[in-house]
């Protein structure tokens, strides 16, 4: 598997046919066809269903496309960073918060120290994120945690010395469909939820799931929904209740399509993490200063 094949693969997906992709790539269709075949053989999977109207992705092809985008994008980022001599600070964030919280941090930093360049990397896995920080591949990471120690939410940080600073609280809300039997009751206790179905997302490693484990006993039924959007939708339809960050459900709470249940929930913190021995890194103290409230 080489980047050249991924570019070809991605071009076939984008253009829909080997023939059009070949035109776009400046290659003959047979060359494109052969590259795809070679890639499939090296991976030992079929990436496309061939049809008279062109190429349709298989399930494996869908998964490959996600990776192809990422790898090609990062290869281009690599090229840019390596060739430009600017030492931008490399900030990693989980995809779950990259869209919502990273722009706020960047805006604040840009306002106070506009000369500091920041390069953002979205990661799927917190472990990978922290490993990248520990190994020096990222300068800082932005993630959700709570408590006084790194990992108090329930995950195991790497053994390398990591320091952190909490930038902002991230309140959570336990929400349910309008008219839910528990809505309107203040001072709920976890025991009051006995018999409820608690929607959780895909992964026990997710911050929200960990927050659920901090809040509720194991005997409350967990139902795996997909991501945050699915959880919200199911909650709206009365299929269960769920614990989500307030920012994710603020609109629904305002419009009445969801109601907040009166159970105290743990707050998460937006936490910046870096290697403790890297505080001499140019710009790090600046970002710490600039990014905090």
């Amino acid at each position: 598997m080489e980047l050249r094949q991924l570019r070809t693969f991605e071009a076939v997906v984008r253009h829909g046919t080997v023939t059009d992709a070949a035109v776009a790539l400046g290659l003959a269709p047979s060359s494109v066809s052969e590259q795809i075949r070679t890639l499939e053989r090296s991976l030992e999977v079929t990436l496309f269903d061939r049809g008279p109207k062109g190429m349709r992705l298989t399930g494996a092809g869908e998964r490959m496309l996600t990776w192809a985008h990422r790898l090609l994008s990062q290869a281009e980022q690599a090229r840019r960073e390596v060739t430009e001599q600017g030492a931008a600070l490399r900030l990693g964030a989980l995809e779950s918060i990259a869209a919502t919280h990273v722009p706020v941090v960047l805006a604040r930093l840009s306002e106070r120290r506009p000369e500091i360049g920041v390069q953002v990397h979205a990661e799927i896995s917190r472990d990978t994120l922290l490993d990248d920080v520990a190994a020096g591949r990222l300068d800082v990471a932005l993630l959700l945690d709570n408590g006084d120690t790194l990992g108090a939410l329930g995950f195991e940080p790497p053994t390398e010395p990591l320091a952190f600073l909490d930038l902002a609280p991230v309140p959570l809300a336990l929400v349910a469909a309008p008219g839910h039997s528990l809505s309107g009751r203040p001072d709920l206790r976890p025991a009051d939820l006995r018999g409820e179905r608690l929607l959780v997302n895909n992964s026990p490693a997710c911050s929200f799931w960990m927050a659920v484990e901090q809040t509720f006993d194991a005997d409350i039924e967990r139902v795996r929904a997909g991501g945050v959007a699915v959880m919200r939708a199911w909650a709206q339809q009365g299929l269960g209740i769920c614990l989500l960050p307030e920012f994710a459900v603020a609109t629904d709470l305002d419009s009445g399509s969801l109601v907040r249940l009166g159970l105290p929930t743990p707050a998460l913190s937006l936490r910046l993490v870096w290697r403790a021995d890297r505080e001499t890194l140019p710009g790090l103290r600046d970002i710490l200063y600039a990014a905090s409230s």
Copy 2:
């Protein structure tokens, strides 16, 4: 910039010299040197300071190393995710043979290629089974047929190009109750059965019924029994004769509760079917090899 160059680059960093990296990579030092030079030219940066003791990273090289690790690691993650989830071969079989023949095929495959995962789907209808193969929802199907072409038994295969391999014969036996007037007579002809009642099962689409149609004239009375078990029971009680796979009546023949009539019967074959254009499917050739006698 290609992944192969990044692997070479990373090896030079790890081993410290072009010469040692070449040994590790199984290449000549000149090949390694040229790959590094080519990479540097494509990025338009110098990645190493050359010295008498080997290669030392420049600043750009340090930055490149971070990316090289990430890209190579993610390429490997991509490979694993794309191939693993697709690795299970989807095998469909009719329920009528799922219990009797599929375990044999799976056991044989597991013995020879234990790393190939198979996901079994039992189907009720052969048409559905073959449609699933034609449409790519199943990788292979296991069914009963005979003759040199798909469908020679009497069914109509889909129009998509399907290939097949016969794995094993499935002999049939024409059986009747002990003491039947035709028992003990060798060299029976179909005409000898005039006046007999021929037990058949529920569906003309069933392989056994189709085998009956291949063997007997339409003027021999058909009596619909239920499934194989019901047919066997009725034959034992002298309610008719029936044509069943030997494996289904072996015990009765041994114990004498049924007797075999001396009429040559067509043999069925246990047939593996797949899309002809899917032979690049990982594991398919392996399963073809492993599953055949």
